[in-house]
Assembly symmetry: C2
Homo-oligomer: 287 residues x 2
Amino acid sequence: MIKKMAIVGGTHGNEFTGVYLLEKLKQELSIEQVEIDYLLANPKAFNAVKRYIDRDLNRCFKLEDLANTDLIGYENQRAKELNQWLGPKGNAKTDFIIDLHTSTAPMGINLVLIKADPFHLRLVDYVQQRLDDVTITWEDLPDHHFLMSIADKHMLIEVGATPQGVLRQDVFEKTEATVHCIAEFIELYNGNKLPKPSDSVEVYKYFDVAYLPQNKQGETIGMVHKNIQDRDFLPLKKGEPIFKLFNGKQIYYNGEDCYISFINEAAYYDEKKAFSMSKKILIDIKI
Amino acid sequence: MIKKMAIVGGTHGNEFTGVYLLEKLKQELSIEQVEIDYLLANPKAFNAVKRYIDRDLNRCFKLEDLANTDLIGYENQRAKELNQWLGPKGNAKTDFIIDLHTSTAPMGINLVLIKADPFHLRLVDYVQQRLDDVTITWEDLPDHHFLMSIADKHMLIEVGATPQGVLRQDVFEKTEATVHCIAEFIELYNGNKLPKPSDSVEVYKYFDVAYLPQNKQGETIGMVHKNIQDRDFLPLKKGEPIFKLFNGKQIYYNGEDCYISFINEAAYYDEKKAFSMSKKILIDIKI
């Protein structure tokens, strides 16, 4: 039974969609027997129109980091506050967290799993059966660093494409529809009235990230190749061009066949990342 | 005769295209008998991945502001330095400035005039006859505030769509092609070998800006309507929906028929601007 739920926006301060949608949901959303909190996660970064002030807030929620009082900076402090309000992680007073994100890549509606248990698989399946353009990714890490990992049950919604610091109606409405669909699922789940799920669900399981081409000094010497630009969730095969260097040369993909996403994502540039790599797998939904 | 020219990138620190293109042009560009300077205009903002630190640098070049020693902050200081190096405005040692910009709106290649004299009209006509997807706008203000106004002759290139803080190959290559085309024009101009121009050129003359819907407290209460999103340089007619409020209502355009651009531009949000309005006019090219 889900009794307490939190909807979180602005975990990244320059992703406006979640922040403005929170206000709308506050007025309009209700789920029978569920208490809903609405939370602007990183108000300082939102006011500065930056992803973060000192450290990416959505990387601060490992148990180890939450317990580490030596970690300084705004987001490390804020993570501990949020963990107190919503958590504590491992024994949280919040049963379910939705965290609202956007991407500068054309990701459509991307649902991010950090647990592939029956509850979460049924949830993503429920949404995918009801909305268009829904993909599911799975980041399978022990003691995950995401904010939503505070709660035992959770969903990260990543919608794109939109530039940072912009509200696009299409992205706003896709995010809104996704939240309403999840709310519907929760009401049915609480009432033990969930419909029969699909037999299985197709999941993009993250395994690695590719970096922008750099020289020995770590300076960027090229960019994402137009061959892969805007090709999120499509396959990448060995031998395809992935980078165009400023000197005119091309760099070809030399790894195993995979699916790529977050291609040329603005938020990736601080670490000089270029795109994410995943394997497409089919997971049976056991109920 | 154009003898000294400057190519400027990073006037806005989060517009990466110009900054990286500068390095490439340094290696590859040459114009007979022309000395070319390459200049990263706002290095502090580039390092911070922000449009500006204290004030939009591309608004700091009115003669009045350049002479005003009371104006504080990084960009006001930087404007005075740039004016010394490239100018001084009104009697500049630099004959021609190209300033490289990007937009989050799908502007294609947009050439921005602040003077519609025969030289500049021939220049934009030359580029438009040779490259695809070129539009021309004209901001007719006395004592313009743009950086490029330091030099008597100049061109601002605005290419989009790209998110801020991202390098897209398509946007990069369009910008590069435009610079090469302008370089070709300058070589022909210096050699008195310019081809006969078109009889006239179609120009979007800027006349006003629209603001995002706000309540009495100045808080944003809606967003750009999907009816106009990504419709840059297309006509807007009275009665069309332009904003969608968070409460579900639509706001309709009530002004005179016009053409709109910079629609939902990320850089507009700090002043809560939503789009630019222009009249399409035909200007004869007299030679």
